[in-house]
């Protein structure tokens, strides 16, 4: 099952860690909030994506199944 990244925009406080850990899929907007690619996470980046999820200080990032 392919996974995608989702931000909970209420929990997100704009720490910006995710964009440092996973710049391939996450950039920050001009206020410091993540813009997350909705594409399925490529297999080579899954480990980094998991790291970004577990390291988010606000627990605002999640990996979820891509809806079919």
């Amino acid at each position: 099952m392919r996974k995608q990244l989702r931000v909970n925009p209420i929990n997100c406080a704009g720490h910006g860690l995710c964009a440092e850990l996973l710049p391939e899929l996450i950039t920050l907007d001009e206020w410091g909030y993540p813009i997350v690619s909705g594409e399925p996470v490529p297999p080579g980046l899954e480990r980094h994506a998991r790291r970004a999820v577990t390291d988010c200080p606000a627990l605002a990032l999640a990996l979820s199944d891509v809806p079919r």
Binding site: N8, P9, I10, C12, A13, W31, G32, Y33, I35, P67
Partner: protein, 445 residues
């Protein structure tokens, strides 16, 4: 008190003449004359209601009504136009405790009066629909969510009491107070408030994971949708479909704001020409309220009030707000006023919304003035892209739709402002806003 003067005065409503004319015109060959939902000019107590409509036709068991609602093609009248039967059917699937049913009468949109008007004139039709929907999904936990307005609240309490005395229903409806905020009627805000929390929108990771009241499955239906459901239960799907179009059947309530300042709620059919509801010409037409879109008046004048025609143009029927901007007003100034209001009504929970909306409102104020900084348009376009789709609720998306439509429709006016002139000759505000916007966190309770 920000929600004063929202109730219509009893008696004939302004704009009723337009609906009346339409009714007359369409009587030939199109059965089911309007109005259906508010047939009298007097608010109906239980006795008047039962004389007119008879007792609610309970089916004696869950699920039985859902097929009729599906055949009728009823969609939600709160703005999203989602098929009602699918929401009903979803409640009857799966296990766990019986669902909660809540009628949503929290009409936070300042330009919309149709739900308050319906609750004032036909409270028992809404309560019938609420009870019938509850029966259809096997629920006995039923609520009605409305704004704090002492007059309306007291009237609804009395209506609920009348039904209890008459022993009409299986469940007693609990009134739930909505705070006077634009977003209080958002579905997840409603569920939060009804669970004893604040009326703030919540994050919904996916449709399936939506939590309802106290974690239970929760059916939320707009009060007008429930009133239609109560009539479908009585008269059937074919009767309901005798008004409206094949794809968007039935009638709907609309709040009209005429260019001459007259305002009123009318019942019309989906597919009615907008030119039959608003007196045109006008500077521009706002369709769908403050999360809706401006259209050039000439274009709007050729369109029917139907999503099939409006969606390709970036507009929606929404909750049925139509406003004809007077020829002497500046569309940019009106848009800037409303955008400032929408920015203040952000729940302030999501970064892109609480950072972006005030900046967008500031940029619009600049554009509404003389010789705006030429960089402002590009800023506004960039911020619109940054907030669109990035909130827990649709407030940023709806605000962007409204703002972007203004940039399209009032492009000529922007050129005038760039040269230091404005074609508006009256600075008098047109679109209605609450007297004051609460800025206190307590206002979400």
């Amino acid at each position: 008190m920000t929600h004063n003067a929202t109730l219509p005065p009893p008696g004939p409503q302004a704009g009723q003449d337009a609906a009346q004319q339409l009714t007359e015109r369409w009587r030939d060959g199109r059965p089911g004359p309007l109005p259906r939902l508010m047939p009298a000019h007097e608010p109906a107590d239980l006795r008047a209601h039962l004389e007119r409509f008879g007792a609610p036709p309970y089916r004696g068991a869950p699920r039985r009504l859902i097929g009729d609602v599906e055949a009728a093609g009823l969609t939600g009248r709160g703005g999203a136009a989602f098929p009602t039967y699918r929401k009903l059917a979803a409640m009857t699937a799966g296990h766990g405790p019986a669902p909660v049913v809540v009628g949503n009468g929290a009409e936070g949109e300042p330009a919309s009066h149709k739900d308050k008007t319906l609750l004032w004139f036909s409270p028992h039709l809404v309560l019938d629909g609420l009870q019938l929907a509850a029966e259809a999904v096997g629920s006995v936990t039923v609520g009605l969510y409305v704004h704090r307005d002492p007059r309306l609240y007291g009237w609804l309490e009395a209506a609920i009491g009348e039904r209890a005395t008459a022993g009409l229903d299986a469940a007693r409806v609990e009134l739930i107070e909505a705070p006077p905020r634009f977003l209080a009627g958002e579905k997840s805000a409603l569920a939060s408030k009804a669970s004893g929390g604040t009326a703030l929108p919540r994050f919904k990771p996916s449709r399936a994971s939506q939590r309802g009241v106290s974690g239970r499955r929760t059916l939320v239906q707009n009060v007008e949708t429930l009133a239609h459901l109560a009539l479908i239960a009585r008269h059937g799907a074919a009767w309901f479909r005798s008004a409206g179009t094949q794809d968007e059947p039935g009638s709907m309530l609309a709040t009209l704001h005429q260019a001459d300042g007259r305002t009123g709620v009318v019942e019309t059919t989906l597919g009615t020409p907008i030119a039959g509801l608003l007196r045109l010409p006008a500077r521009a037409v706002l369709v769908g309220g403050y999360h809706g879109a401006w259209l050039p008046a000439e274009q709007a004048g050729r369109l029917p009030l139907a999503n099939a025609a409006l969606r390709p143009l970036g507009a929606v029927v929404g909750a049925g707000v139509l406003a004809a901007l007077p020829a002497d007003r500046c569309g940019l100034a009106e848009t800037a006023r409303v955008a400032s209001y929408l920015a203040l009504e952000s729940a302030g929970q999501c970064g892109p919304c609480f950072n972006g909306l005030p900046r967008m409102a500031g940029a619009l104020e600049e554009l509404a003035g003389p010789r705006p900084d030429p960089r402002v348009s590009a800023d506004l376009e960039r911020w619109s892209g940054l907030v669109d789709g990035r909130g827990a609720c649709h407030h940023p998306d709806g605000t962007v739709r409204f703002v972007r439509s203004a940039l399209r429709v009032f492009a000529d006016e922007m050129d005038h402002h760039a040269r230091g002139s404005c074609t508006g000759t009256s600075g008098r505000p047109f679109l209605p806003l609450p007297g004051q916007t609460p800025l206190d966190d307590a206002d979400w309770r």
